[in-house]
Symmetry: C3
Subunit: 202 residues, 3 copies
């Protein structure tokens, strides 16, 4: 079940990566690369940091196949059909929730400290998008715009808290995923964003 | 033999990295860094992904030495002499072919799936150039311009196909390298590029 | 002792990361991410390259905690107080010295070749700043402006030379750190920079 949600999240992230790449006038190969990096980049960095080797998509190539297929479908379909941006944002929030939970799980399975589990959860959800924006020559969106990674961070905290409180196995993932989803959708609906500051230094 | 081709490819990639860095007005240290990253970056990411550790140039420092020397020679020579761009492009195509074959080989040696071998082959050939462009603040050239990584991808497919068809040991590398070289040189000669698309979404 | 210097260097680098992120109008989460990446990014890349796993801050979460706290304090304080830029530059030079020495130490502990120790020393000191600038959409400062990574490189050479000359245990670190500090402070004071070149090629 979790596995299929994971592949679904991978496909959604690949679609957002494809669209970002297309806006930058990349060719079909570039679109595939950016889509795949967006979809599996976060989990890759997580596995490298935790020392899981080889990284997850070397062991299970379905992740790569799903990414590439999603990119190609987007490439072909996007010229013909217009998907409402709001549908994509909801799917993306769903992917963020799933990836957060998986990122926390992997860290705890590797017996990393709880703080690290929160970080790798957030990383799994967000780092792919950061790499996507860097490849596209943009300052990463999730570091600037409305609440995104913060939703993932909150979900990670809830997951780790529920897990260390000894909740039954299915509980932490469900409630943490729900937290991510609700916070992210609320952020989209009301354009919530975090405060910024203007440095007076230097 | 393959080892010397590999070092030759490393030197060529370091030269292209130096020239890119120089165009961005980096200092001599920056030129050395960008040159080295261009030359050994692809193989480094491959080794990290596959879980080969430490990465290849920690075990054999000749790769670093060749990169740094090539960068310094370029730094000194480029102010005095003008190397025809076309010569450099042919050398670069040659480096791409060698790196692709080595990238496939390493993955199969680590008993990774065939799809992964194709990916690490392409990665070894192209990822160094992607990191070079990101460091120089550009959207990676190989994701936008005429066929480059795609040549490497085709070579990887040929390599893996020939190897799994049980071809004699020397065969897959030679034919795959030739495919990369021919496709890449044809792309340069006739400015072949892949299709792009304009997203209507978002 | 070295451990506290290390945490101090981490805090200083996090402060420079925060200020860079703030100038780019990132939100408080973005500031924390960029600060943390600046502070622990160099050591992370070093550990990945050398095959140390998991990376250092997964084993000892104090590095992350120090980074996040330093970022938050900067976030709050920077709107109210103005820290003289020169003080920050001196602290930063100090952090560079400490990180260089630690980077060399880790490589030698992993019995990497001497050349690699020099590289990982420089990497530990400088790579975090490179990633910071890439995330902020800038061509990395240390590859363009006055001598920075070169100070670290010189310190690394001195460290490795002193260590292989069989100096007593405390000596290489102290003298190498001093070299980094002196060269870097001199570079700031007299705006020393390395030569550049204008490529005639391509």
């Amino acid at each position: 079940m979790m596995y299929f949600l994971d592949l679904f999240g991978t496909a959604v992230f690949a679609v957002t990566g494809s669209l970002a790449a297309a806006r930058k006038r990349l060719d079909v190969f570039g679109v595939m690369v950016v889509a795949t990096v967006t979809a599996i980049g976060g989990g890759t960095i997580r596995d490298l940091i935790l020392g899981v080797r080889p990284v997850f998509w070397v062991k299970d190539t379905n992740y790569v196949i799903v990414s590439v297929v999603a990119a190609l479908v987007t490439f072909v379909a996007a010229e013909r059909y217009k998907m409402p941006g709001s549908v994509l944002l909801v799917f993306d929030a769903f992917g963020l929730a799933v990836f957060t939970v998986i990122g926390c799980e992997v860290a705890l399975r590797e017996s990393a400290p709880l703080l690290i589990a929160v970080i790798t959860g957030t990383m799994t959800g967000s780092a792919g998008g950061v790499v996507r924006d860097v490849l596209c020559g943009d300052v990463p969106l999730i570091l600037r715009k409305e609440i995104y990674a913060t939703a993932s961070l909150l979900g990670g905290v809830v997951f780790v808290a529920a897990r260390s409180a000894g909740a039954p196995a299915w509980f932490p993932g469900c409630v943490a995923g729900l937290v991510v989803l609700v916070v992210r959708l609320a952020a989209i609906k009301w354009s919530l964003s975090l405060p910024r500051f203007i440095a007076r230094n230097r």
